[in-house]
């Protein structure tokens, strides 16, 4: 009798303890984020995490990765049923994940702040979900970016220019002329599989410049006009290397290599998806940031004598549809994008990415005409602008993920194929990728 009473009391106590521990268990949110560039970026992330924890009492368990590692990790986490509550992915995989219904609909958050958001960012976040048969907002476009043009003003001056010409021929011709004077290769951008957007994006941008519009109203068009644009873009993209006007190693460059090569003045100009190169000058050699280098707006009109859109893209924050702490994830996302918090964060990134809010864009930091890098790049968002094609179709995104453009470029510079043959192979692969959807 005594024993059974004792046991009953023991069990009751255990039950109370279990219930109490459940009630007391701290609410948390798991965050996987890219931490790959600077201490300032990490500090900006830590600041927003700390502020959120302090204000809400919700614990944030965060870990940092490089963007490519994070991409694979998010895919594996979602599939294994063990995803983070909040993360980010590269834009092309965002499109695939949204299409398969793997991301939470964040329309409630977007609608709340949409009025102040840059329209192209909002547009790029409105994605197809084939599983649910609808389009909706499946990410928060927390960072905007564009293919920046960074160059050494000193080289241009040596070639006899006060300022870069603004028409297509004059603009690129200035760098060719500079090479004849300085002996430094004119242009350097990656032509290798080891880079990601540093190959796909310039190819896409040049296709646009040569009049190509591969996705129209959500459909792929690989007709003769677009084929011609792809061929011309490919010729332009590769001619610098083939004519000895690029560093020889571009066929091996990974994403950071155009940074190091421009920083060490191994070429006069490069294209880069963020302002990370000027940031490096700002931190390490500020005089060069202001007096020896600059970023340019795109030369307009284009090679065909007509204006063309500058491609912009988003860096998305996502909440997986199977996030274990959905409520907390939404609370954290909401906290993050409230202007008072968001502005601090985006400012902490020191213009590596541009803000999603119009009002933040107008901040003196982003709108200072004396800044030789931020201000000209800012103009990319306010001229004729369009989202990159891979945001517009999941099949297209898959083609880009599979390095379809990389292969086309490699066919010309490594295998020495004629551009026409390489373009046809790529367009055939693009057609196959799109047909699956």
């Amino acid at each position: 009798m005594k024993v059974s009473r004792l046991m009953s009391i023991g069990i009751a106590l255990l039950l109370v303890l279990a219930l109490a521990s459940g009630a007391l268990a701290q609410r948390k949110v798991t965050l996987w984020w890219t931490v790959e560039y600077s201490a300032e970026e990490k500090a900006a992330l830590e600041a927003i995490v700390n502020d959120f924890q302090k204000e809400t009492g919700i614990k944030v368990e965060w870990s940092g990765y490089s963007s490519t590692d994070l991409w694979a990790k998010v895919m594996a986490g979602i599939e294994a049923g063990n995803p983070p509550d909040i993360s980010q992915v590269l834009s092309h995989s965002l499109v695939l994940l949204a299409d398969r219904g793997l991301l939470a609909d964040v329309s409630d958050l977007i609608e709340k702040y949409k009025g102040d958001m840059i329209p192209s960012g909002v547009e790029a976040s409105y994605l197809v979900n084939s599983k649910a048969g609808k389009r909706s907002y499946y990410c928060i476009p927390w960072g905007l970016y564009t293919l920046t043009i960074n160059y050494w003003t000193t080289d241009i001056k040596k070639a006899g220019y006060d300022k870069l010409p603004t028409d297509w021929q004059g603009f690129w011709g200035a760098f060719e002329k500079a090479q004849t004077v300085t002996g430094i290769p004119a242009v350097g951008w990656s032509l290798s599989d080891r880079a990601e957007f540093d190959v796909s994006w310039p190819v896409e941008q040049f296709i646009m410049a040569f009049g190509g519009r591969l996705i129209k109203d959500g459909k792929l068009d690989v007709g003769p006009e677009n084929r011609k644009a792809v061929i011309e873009a490919l010729k332009f993209h590769t001619k610098w290397y083939l004519e000895g006007k690029s560093p020889k190693g571009v066929t091996e460059w990974g994403d950071p290599d155009n940074n190091t090569n421009l920083q060490t003045h191994k070429m006069s100009v490069t294209l880069n998806a963020t302002l990370s190169i000027p940031r490096w000058f700002y931190d390490k050699e500020r005089d060069k940031y202001f007096n020896e280098t600059a970023s340019a707006n795109y030369p307009q009109p284009g090679p065909l004598g007509t204006p063309y859109p500058v491609l912009t893209n988003i860096y998305p924050m996502i909440i997986p549809a199977n996030a274990p702490n959905m409520k907390e994830a939404k609370a954290f996302a909401d906290f993050w994008i409230q202007k008072r918090n968001y502005d601090k964060y985006i400012r902490g990134l020191e213009a590596r990415f541009f803000p999603m809010y119009k009002s933040t864009f107008d901040d003196a930091y982003f709108a200072n005409p004396k800044d030789p890098h931020i201000f000209p790049t800012r103009q990319h968002f306010f001229g004729p602008a369009a989202p990159v094609n891979w945001m517009l179709h999941p099949g297209y995104a898959k083609f880009v993920i599979g390095h379809g453009w990389h292969k086309m470029v490699s066919r010309v510079v490594v295998d020495k194929w004629p551009p026409e043959k390489a373009a046809d192979e790529a367009l055939e692969a693009l057609k196959r990728a799109v047909e699956r959807y």
Partner: protein, 296 residues
């Protein structure tokens, strides 16, 4: 004998045996058998991220065979395994024979020789990459000094594949040399002694004693090394990333591409399932060889 003597005794001892084997069995089923069978199953389904697997028969295999990148990866795997393993083991045996001789400073040479194997794989791969960088690499900095032009080591297929093979041999040669060295130490000295008394030359000792007695071990090492090399991912992934133009992928890197870039677990599984018969034959050969050397 005692195990099966009485029903009671057999039962108790058998239970104990099963109990001891149980942890291994649980691990084997969880981490080898289940993933393996799942992989075979997924290879016959359409199974992409976010989609439930759906049986599609041989469709994935047919698709893969039409995929030029996949075909290229098969060819590269054959080159990588065929040339890498054979060159590495032949060299390892020669070096082991050399190191098995008495000479001044032998311990130092042996220790230095082991260094590549001891070096961390990722750091050494990144060092290779930097040393071979077209613009900044030390190798290309030296070439003009001897009147040669700089080479795009990792930017063209032929040199990139050669570098992948070279790294593999450099990195794993010491391990296999060590194995062969221990094999050579196992050959009784009196066999050599007797042959020397009969007037055998060093070449004849090698031809008629060392090589025949090392044959079994050599074959086993070849098979094991082939199995390991077939699954190697990191060498290609870090050295070339599969480039230029997806031309240096091996099966492991192309399967990774399918799984973690496209979310196509079906094609990733099929990549390896196509390889299973080859693997199985190799494994069976290893087992037969091991049994033969144990009971022969």
């Amino acid at each position: 004998m005692g195990v099966a003597r009485t029903r009671e005794g057999w039962g108790r001892e058998a239970w104990q045996s099963y109990l001891f084997v149980l942890p291994f069995l649980a691990l084997f089923v969880s981490f080898i058998l289940y993933p393996l069978l799942s992989e075979v199953y997924y290879s016959f389904t359409r199974y992409e991220i976010g989609l439930a697997p759906r049986f599609v028969g041989l469709k994935n295999f047919a698709g893969l065979i039409q995929d030029s990148d996949y075909r290229q990866s098969i060819l590269n795997t054959l080159i990588y395994v065929g040339m890498g393993v054979n060159a590495k083991l032949a060299l390892a045996l020669l070096i082991a024979i050399f190191l098995n001789r008495e000479f001044a400073g032998r311990s130092l040479v042996q220790s230095l020789f082991l260094l590549p194997w001891a070096a961390a794989t990722i750091s050494s791969l990144l060092s290779f990459r930097w040393m071979l960088d077209t613009d900044f690499g030390v190798v290309n900095a030296l070439l003009p000094l001897v009147g040669l032009q700089r080479i795009q080591w990792l930017g063209q297929y032929s040199t990139a594949m050669a570098i992948i093979l070279m790294y593999h041999i450099w990195k794993y040669l010491p391990f296999w040399t060590l194995i062969f060295l221990s094999g050579l130490k196992g050959i009784p000295p009196d066999v050599y002694e007797a042959a020397r008394v009969d007037g055998a030359s060093p070449v004849q000792l090698l031809r008629w004693i060392t090589l025949p007695m090392m044959k079994g071990l050599y074959i086993i090492c070849t098979l094991i090394s082939a199995i390991w090399t077939m699954g190697d991912f990191i060498t290609v992934y870090l050295l070339t990333g599969g480039g230029p133009g997806q031309s240096t992928n091996v099966l492991a890197t192309i399967a990774y591409r399918f799984a973690f870039r496209f979310g196509e677990f079906d094609n990733a599984s099929a990549c390896f399932v196509l390889l299973f018969p080859v693997m199985l034959v190799l494994i069976l050969l290893v087992i037969r060889k091991l049994e033969a050397s144990a009971y022969g």
